[in-house]
């Protein structure tokens, strides 16, 4: 067996790349290898939020285009990702953060039509009477942000790619990348070498170790996050709410259009690749923080809980493309931190242009892996989903 292009990882990133590649070059033999099932990594475990509010310009630009693609995905793939644009609401408790939002708005957001409303505490309570926000300074509302069903996006790409003749191998892990004379020869699967012109590593939290095995170090730190869903109740929490009190430990909470209340805290901190377990620490910390913010939730019951990895890069922005010093034919798309789902459509499109036409789009340029050695970081402070 032999492929033109092999993609390591059947997450939303790998599948989006696969789909756009196949669309651009239907005659190429393109294969996705997935160690478990489609979406096993972060792609089926995330909070499924999309936003255009980033703190660095390249991310804002990227996110706006990705959002647009996301919203027309139903027509593109035949799967409706069921968007619900309910907004993001940041609850801000200290002056510095408040000022930082003001500056970002002035310097970046206003330039690109990224809308924000600054709400004073009374307004917050009036609009969101279920909140018990404590000593709030201000609420920042971003109305263009919202939720999209993450599974539908991941699976839409997978099934569409397959229907166009693409190959997906589930439960087929790639042991290693095989090199020959300074270029890619293929991949090792179960001790057998499958030849391939090009290999794209989109293996989420596992990318770091895979790249390290061929001597390439990427500045990545996987970080496990836990999430839970409460039983459904009538819809009353419209935006995703982010409580920025340090004592709330990065609490965010939202309600899905089917009524389930979903949320998380940034605790405990577990770095590295571990089993997708859960902890009592998370449950009790989350319960306390979310009950403090929304007392109405106190008697709601936890239906299920799970965990997944943020694959955090040194500057919290994703890494896509290649470094010319790498073996020929090797590409990556990884390090999406807490926002890889929303960036997936545009990533797929730009990577396919790059791989097939060797064209580096200006929107992609800032995210090349070479930025770390060149000191051109895309510092992104806003990491939550």
């Amino acid at each position: 067996m032999k492929h033109d292009i092999t993609i390591v990882g059947g997450g939303v990133i790998g599948l989006s790349i696969a789909y756009y590649l196949k669309k651009k070059a239907p005659d190429l033999d393109i294969a996705v290898y997935e160690a478990k099932y489609i979406g096993y990594g972060a792609s089926t475990r995330n909070g499924s939020h999309i936003r255009v509010h980033f703190w660095s310009e390249p991310n804002v630009v990227f996110a706006i285009k990705s959002r647009k693609m996301m919203l027309s995905l139903a027509k593109e793939t035949g799967w409706n990702p069921t968007p619900y644009i309910g907004g993001y609401l940041w609850l801000i408790y200290d002056e510095d953060t408040y000022q930082a939002y003001k500056h970002t708005n002035r310097d970046i957001w206003s330039k690109y039509g990224v809308a924000v409303e600054f709400l004073d505490p009374e307004e917050v309570i009036e609009r969101y009477p279920y909140l018990n926000p404590g000593k709030l300074i201000t609420g920042v509302l971003g109305v263009q942000d919202g939720k999209i069903h993450h599974d539908f996006v991941t699976y839409a790409y997978a099934y569409k790619f397959k229907n166009m003749g693409g190959k997906i191998y589930e439960y087929t892990p790639i042991n290693s990348i095989v090199l020959e004379e300074g270029r890619i020869r293929g991949v090792d699967i179960g001790g057998k070498i499958i030849e391939s012109e090009k290999v794209i590593v989109a293996a989420g939290a596992w990318s770091k170790s895979l790249m390290e095995s061929i001597g390439i170090t990427l500045p990545l730190t996987p970080s496990r996050k836990e999430l839970s869903v409460l039983e459904p109740v009538n819809f009353f929490i419209k935006p995703l709410i982010i409580d920025m009190r340090p004592s709330s430990r990065g609490l965010y909470v939202c309600q899905t259009p089917r009524g389930e209340v979903m949320g998380s805290v940034d605790y405990p901190e577990v770095q590295g690749v571990y089993e997708f377990n859960n902890t009592i620490k998370y449950l009790s910390t989350y319960a306390r923080a979310v009950i403090r913010l929304i007392p109405a939730l106190k008697y709601l019951r936890v239906l299920r809980i799970w965990s997944g990895d943020y694959n955090v890069s040194a500057d919290h922005s994703h890494i896509m493309g290649r470094d010319d010093e790498w073996p020929d034919g090797l590409y990556v798309a990884t390090g999406y931190s807490g926002h890889g789902f929303m960036m997936a459509p545009y990533t797929g499109l730009l990577m396919s242009e790059y791989i097939i036409e060797d064209k580096i789009h200006p929107d992609m340029e800032p995210f090349l892996p070479t930025r770390f050695k060149e000191g051109r970081l895309v510092k992104e402070m806003m990491v939550i989903g």
Binding site: P83, A287, L300
Partner: protein
């Protein structure tokens, strides 16, 4: 159950049944009327269980209780959506119509306005007190106080002091065996004896699962979290019945055999005079005997040929039966009123009933152990998906967790006690270096099983061998699965929470090529409701296996997630770490 204590308060569901309200549950997604199906514990509606209950007494208000009346269930939006969804399939929102973003926007905002749930109590008062957590610190924790759990506790208590039995029932002991004439008395004595002996039996406590930094249980009657510190944990959670697939299997008063026994024996509900029992594997005889004594008139329906021993029993007792049944359908509004049965030759029979009971497949209740992420085999002789373990219940040589009794695969009831004793002796020997040998009693038992139930003997041996070789296997012995009947697939429910129909699975497989359980869950939401796949996952895999011929191990099962039953946030907030 215990002579000294006052009886526990009647659960809401029982009060409703007594008042002839049958459709008091609703499906999660489309608010379809439902009644109880698998009533696992006393006081069940406080916690939902494996049923798809969505009555949370903490947020139930008068209005909501009022709404429980069938006429009000649903509401116009739910009904419209349901009609649409029925025509367009489970993934109806992927239909061309909804791919238009404007239409979707209008539709989704309408949906959020009319979700079929109550609001929580919106009072703003900050919460300053949480329920205190309970500590259990013991040598051995036994999860499940049924025949297996109590027998093990008795055997262990000969050598070990600090034993705790955790049972989901608010009172009493276990599931099936506790309500059979033949075993009820022994169990009652055993229960009292153990309590006198100092074995701690905690009722109303559900073991929720294994978390990385500890294990917790939930005492739902007092809304408290239990922190557990135990050297050994024995999982004796028993088995439960998988709902059969036939036309209109969602109408209220379609219940598991164990639920029927509980209602009749445990709650003395007298309105259940006449019904059919859809049987398959399992110990029907002691249940039939018990129910007959109570004057319940049963008509046995069998998908396949009735086994000889059972047939002799039925004829001797004059119980009517129907075998090789091809098609069933129920009719009724607030509850099943009659059932139509068609055999393979097309002969038809209408039976008026008060209920439909079922016990076609008795599957191990492995939700707790599934969280440990151990391997599975698929063996129809043992009830479908079975966690890997050896004959004695060991699930890993270095793990201090064990599976006991029918939680590890179907065991005929007459052997449950002996089997439990062997597990107990194995644990005593291996961990404490105490007690009698287990090997000779094990081989005696296996020989007995071989004589009376050769299939199960084979199953247990294959499982044991698989464990030793660390290799999974698949055994599918059903010619015709005992739980699938012919009928209009748009009227057969597979997932009762998310309203997924047989026809949806056909559509997913045939039109979209979706067949892995993980994909099915993601596409349709199957198994993401309150039952979390307990009721529907095996059925869905049987259907896919039938449609595609793919193996059960390839079809796979989705990961079991904490918690076993839904647990309130406030009870978790009080937990110290």
């Amino acid at each position: 159950m215990d002579g000294d204590d006052p009886p526990p308060p009647k659960p809401l569901s029982i009060k409703l049944l007594e008042n002839e309200v049958y459709a008091f549950q609703k499906s999660l997604k489309f608010k379809r009327p439902r009644g109880l199906r698998n009533l696992t514990w006393w006081g069940s509606e406080r916690i939902n269980l494996k049923t798809g209950y969505n009555i949370n007494p903490n947020i139930v208000d008068e209005e909501f209780l009022d709404e429980i009346k069938l006429e009000k269930i649903g509401g116009i939006t739910s009904k419209l959506v349901w009609i649409m969804r029925r025509r367009l399939g489970a993934g109806f929102y992927h239909n061309t119509l909804f791919r238009n973003s404007l239409i979707w926007k209008i539709f989704s905002s309408m949906l959020t306005k009319f979700l079929p749930y109550p609001y929580p109590d919106m009072s703003q008062a900050p919460v300053d007190k949480y329920p205190l957590q309970i500590y259990i610190d013991c040598d051995v924790l036994i999860v499940g106080g049924g025949l297996t759990g109590l027998t093990i506790a008795e055997e262990l208590s000969k050598y070990i002091r600090n034993i705790v039995v955790l049972d989901g029932d608010q009172k009493g002991f276990g599931g099936y065996a506790a309500f059979l004439d033949s075993t009820n008395r022994n169990l009652k004595n055993l229960y009292n004896k153990l309590r006198k002996k100092g074995v701690k039996i905690v009722n109303g406590g559900v073991f929720q699962g294994f978390l990385e930094d500890g294990y917790i249980a939930y005492k739902y009657d007092t809304n408290q979290t239990i922190r557990i510190d135990s050297d050994v944990i024995i999982i004796a959670t028993g088995s439960y019945e998988i709902p059969p697939l036939y036309e209109n299997n969602d109408i209220p008063m379609t219940i598991s055999l164990t639920t029927l026994l509980k209602l009749v024996m445990g709650y003395s509900i007298t309105k259940l005079k006449k019904g059919i029992l859809i049987g398959g594997m399992g110990d029907l005889i002691p249940a039939l005997e018990t129910l007959k004594k109570k004057g319940v008139d049963l008509f046995l329906v069998y998908r396949n040929k009735i086994p000889e021993k059972l047939r002799r029993f039925l004829e001797e007792k004059g119980i009517q039966y129907y075998e090789n049944v091809y098609r069933i359908s129920s009719k009724g509004r607030e509850r099943v009123e009659y059932v139509t049965i068609v055999d393979e030759k097309g002969e038809t029979l209408n039976i008026e009933v008060d209920f439909v009971a079922y016990s076609p497949i008795v599957a191990p209740d492995k939700e707790v152990v599934a969280q440990l992420g151990i391997k599975y085999v698929f063996d129809t002789r043992l009830g479908g998906y079975v966690p890997m373990h050896n004959l004695y219940g060991e699930i890993g040589p270095d793990l201090n967790f064990y599976i006991a009794g029918s939680a590890g695969g179907y065991i005929p009831i007459e052997y449950i006690s002996d089997y439990a004793i062997i597990t107990a002796r194995y644990i005593l020997n291996k961990i404490y270096g105490k007690g009698e040998g287990y090997e000779s009693s094990a081989s005696t038992l296996m020989n007995k099983i071989k004589e009376t139930h050769p299939e199960i003997y084979e199953g247990l041996n294959s499982l044991d061998a698989a464990y030793r070789n660390n290799r999974s296997y698949e055994f599918v012995g059903w010619e015709k699965p005992p739980n699938i009947f012919h009928g209009d697939p748009t009227k057969i429910f597979v997932c009762f929470d998310m309203d997924i129909l047989y026809s949806d699975l056909i559509h997913m497989y045939k039109d979209l090529g979706i067949w892995r359980m993980e994909h099915i869950k993601r596409y349709s939401g199957l198994g993401t409701g309150i039952c979390q796949g307990r009721d529907c996952q095996l059925n869905a895999s049987i259907i896919i296996n039938n449609l595609s011929g793919k193996s059960f191990l390839d079809i796979g099962r989705f990961r079991a997630r904490f918690p076993v039953i839904p647990q309130t946030l406030i009870s978790l907030a009080g937990v110290e770490t």
